[in-house]
Point group: C2
Chain length 243, copies 2
DNA sequence: AAGTGGTCTAGACCACGAC
DNA sequence: TCGTGGTCTAGACCACTTA
């Protein structure tokens, strides 16, 4: 079913370079081989190498200096949003150096509220599937995430759904929908009584509230999420490369 | 002095396309001309066109559909972090549709605290320049930003500094330093008494706290900032394109 | 079948930094 | 001066969507 197309040349080069960084073959502060050397070594064109390096640079993983060379950023470990996904909580937790666990708390199918109906372009009263899940970092609860998906999207027997999947994987597998882009609202909020039962903390504590909207390439809303993010435990840290 | 190199071909194409979007020549939801058509129209190679479109797509401004075409995102107006800069507050405010004003509150030169010294790789007691500024959106105070720069970086007579400059421009003009990348910590916090004097609000209100670290391409810290961001007035909204 | 975007190549020339 | 990354070209072929 899910056709797994072979990895492209760029993806392979990307994987190799990331592996070398991970395994310490390239050490933070190191100067990497030049683009021409890499293109010779891998037997690919320089344009392909540049494409890959461009992505690594955009993540802040490497620093490129015209006339000099390409260097491995000394501060890679400080950042947890490499490759961007602010909404892929498991990866966020793991790339912060913690062990991530997902704990489904509640899965219910119910009519959409009017607010939900509007955000998901549904008729009032159409059903939605609501997934409430708790993410833990090294056992400590950090994120309480609620995701809402139109029930009409789901082609699978509800009893067979794996509610531990990432939302992206969930939409792909059960709804055959591909996320094209995501809009995330970052707001501050206070821990309410309900959320305090899940996240260890006292009601009234400040925390981050993320509202996430998922769309496909036709601008159709696929899902949205509402998450409480305990920033005392897990930093929300973004890198942005300039130029 | 500041050499202003002529805009590259990509920059020109980029400017033209953004202008067409801004002026409504391309309307949200529209299908843009194909890459080949654009490359013919502008007399540049398709690779150059793709380079520019790639950036617009990364910002979520356009959506590209293989086998179909390129479409202008219907939700462009909802997003205020196009081209990324979470720390360029004026642009953030203006691309949210507000009029932005900067109000310098205080400029002082003093020895670095031990925390500042460590973050900026300074010796204890070295001097720093502290800029405290208030950003307003349509007159309403939204961001209280404090930026700390090593005083030794500054080559200009302190009395002649323009304290209304963006931090990027400030570092470039007075310190001849180029920001290579920026790390931003987004945290939740409570309005304290001092900040409440500047931002209209009561102490104890939740708000966003941004801590921003600026580095050059040698990994040297250039500056850091501590900002109170009133998210009731201005949304902090990120787009991330998938794939 | 035709046209779109996605990937990749093999060159060229330029701007810049270190030596 | 030499090697680096930055820009740009003119092609080729593939994957995909639409008709």
């Amino acid at each position: 079913m899910l056709v797994t197309r072979p990895p492209s040349i760029s993806e392979q080069v990307d994987a190799i370079l990331r592996a070398r960084i991970r395994e310490g073959i390239y050490v933070p502060g190191d100067r990497l081989p030049s683009e021409s050397e890499l293109s010779l070594e891998f037997g690919v064109s320089r344009a392909t190498i540049r494409n890959v390096l461009g992505m690594l640079a955009a993540e802040g993983l490497i620093l490129r200096k015209q006339g000099d060379g390409t260097y491995l950023n000394r501060r890679i470990q400080e950042v947890n949003t490499h490759s961007g996904g602010l909404w892929e909580f498991s990866r966020l937790i793991e790339s912060s150096g913690h062990q991530s666990t997902i704990q489904p708390q509640q899965t219910e199918k119910r009519p959409a509220t009017s607010e939900e109906a509007e955000m998901l372009s549904l008729e009032a009263g159409e059903e939605v599937l609501v997934l409430k899940r708790l993410f833990r970092a090294d056992g400590r609860p950090v994120i309480l995430a609620t995701n809402v998906v139109p029930a009409g999207f789901i082609h699978t027997d509800p009893a067979r759904l794996d509610t531990r999947l990432q939302i992206r994987e969930f939409l792909m597998r059960y709804c055959r929908r591909k996320i094209a882009y995501v809009i995330t609202d970052v707001r501050s909020g206070l821990l309410d009584e309900d959320a305090a039962r899940f996240l260890e903390g006292e009601p009234g504590n400040p925390l981050l509230v993320l509202r996430t909207f998922f769309y496909d390439s036709d601008n159709r809303p696929l899902a949205f999420g509402h998450s409480y993010y305990d920033d005392r435990v897990l930093r929300l840290r973004l890198v942005q490369a300039w130029g």
